[in-house]
Symmetry: D2
Subunit: 131 residues, 4 copies
């Protein structure tokens, strides 16, 4: 397990749906943003890689929703990063509400990198990070 990173967020009202809580799809936005910030802290820039023809892609996501975020909530996304197999990496991510520290979402997000020919591979920057 290489690194643990925590990123603070606040719910924005437009992220809530007609049930008055954050829509289930928005959690994937939070998780993605936390992964990209984590990678950037490790000098890996998702957007720059994409421009260079290297696309980091999600190939599997498992999401356990344990409670709801709502207007006014603050929370952190905790991100851990580890190797899953030769060409796959795994982000283990939790969304934890500020105040009562309740875990509202637990996620495992598996990714790989795809080169400009569409072939999966492991970029050196990520391989180094996973050592």
């Amino acid at each position: 397990m290489s690194e643990v990173s925590e990123l603070p967020f606040s719910v924005r009202d437009y992220e809530c749906d007609l049930q008055g809580v954050v829509n289930n799809s928005v959690y994937l936005n939070y998780l993605e943003h936390a992964r990209h910030v984590f990678l950037k802290e490790q000098q890996i820039d998702f957007a720059a890689l994409s421009k260079a023809g290297i696309n980091l892609v999600v190939i599997r996501a498992e999401l356990d929703y344990k409670g709801s975020l709502t207007s006014g909530d603050s929370f952190i996304v905790r991100t851990r990063f580890t190797r899953k197999s030769r060409l796959k990496f795994l982000f283990i991510q939790d969304i934890i509400r500020e105040g009562d520290e309740k875990v509202l979402l637990s996620a495992e997000v598996t990714g790989t990198a795809v080169n400009s020919q569409g072939k999966p591979f492991m970029p050196e920057e990520l391989a180094n990070l996973l050592e």
Copy 2:
């Protein structure tokens, strides 16, 4: 397995991200919309239930991303609905690209209903549907 339903979609350009493909979170939007249309065809109205204090909620989602949707693509979401346990129901959903019929996403989405006191229960409409 009670029902199979298919709903056609077209990618909208604003759903694509800087990689030029539909962002991974948007698939959850597609799946949710297909579930709500499916339920409405069965006379179960997500928004009306919510107003009445009954919230249908996702408690787990497993998503296997097998390929990317991009600008110009049309696709269908195929939705099957079944009982998972006494208080849980399961949607088995696939996103299938038009043209080559390739399955680009396979998902299992587990839900339950929560009453106005926050207690899980199985609304009669859903129970009937699941028989």
Copy 3:
């Protein structure tokens, strides 16, 4: 005024916010999608242009919100396209609810095209369309 185009839509529940109506930002999604479909019908492909280094961009939007879309609503976006100046084009767009034909939004969206050096210009395809 070169063309009038109408595109049908249905509200998707995830587009509604905690007020139970479609969030004001989502109308811009609807308008953009209708513009891109309109352009594609004229053989102008927004995504293909972008890949070729030509970006169609919005430089001004005026939006009059006259009523709210909500869960269950169907509507059309009516799009008219005209020249505004040498380098600017104008989309005049209305969102009209199905059933009572009420205009819920009137919009004027001014755009231009930017080449790969970031310079505004009028692509020949658009110029022809505007004649």
Copy 4:
């Protein structure tokens, strides 16, 4: 002109579209969030009002897009709040990129409040703020 408020943001990659820049609709999300934070600092809670049957609604938006936000950008939303007429209030908002302080968007957003009978009115909290 009652108040000026500034709220810092960072672009999140999922907010960028296939042109590699923040999609034009997302600016409305930023502006809304800044307005709600501003109001909350004045003890006016958008979500709580909505639950109480009082909906603050946008009735007109004028947006001048002067430049693009992209991956990696930080920016502030500057919000000023003023009275427009007896029942209408006006937010004057700018999006200013960090670093070169360039104004990328200038907006005027007109709103009103609607009570549970759908009638426009001016809630006392807002009237006090606008004095």
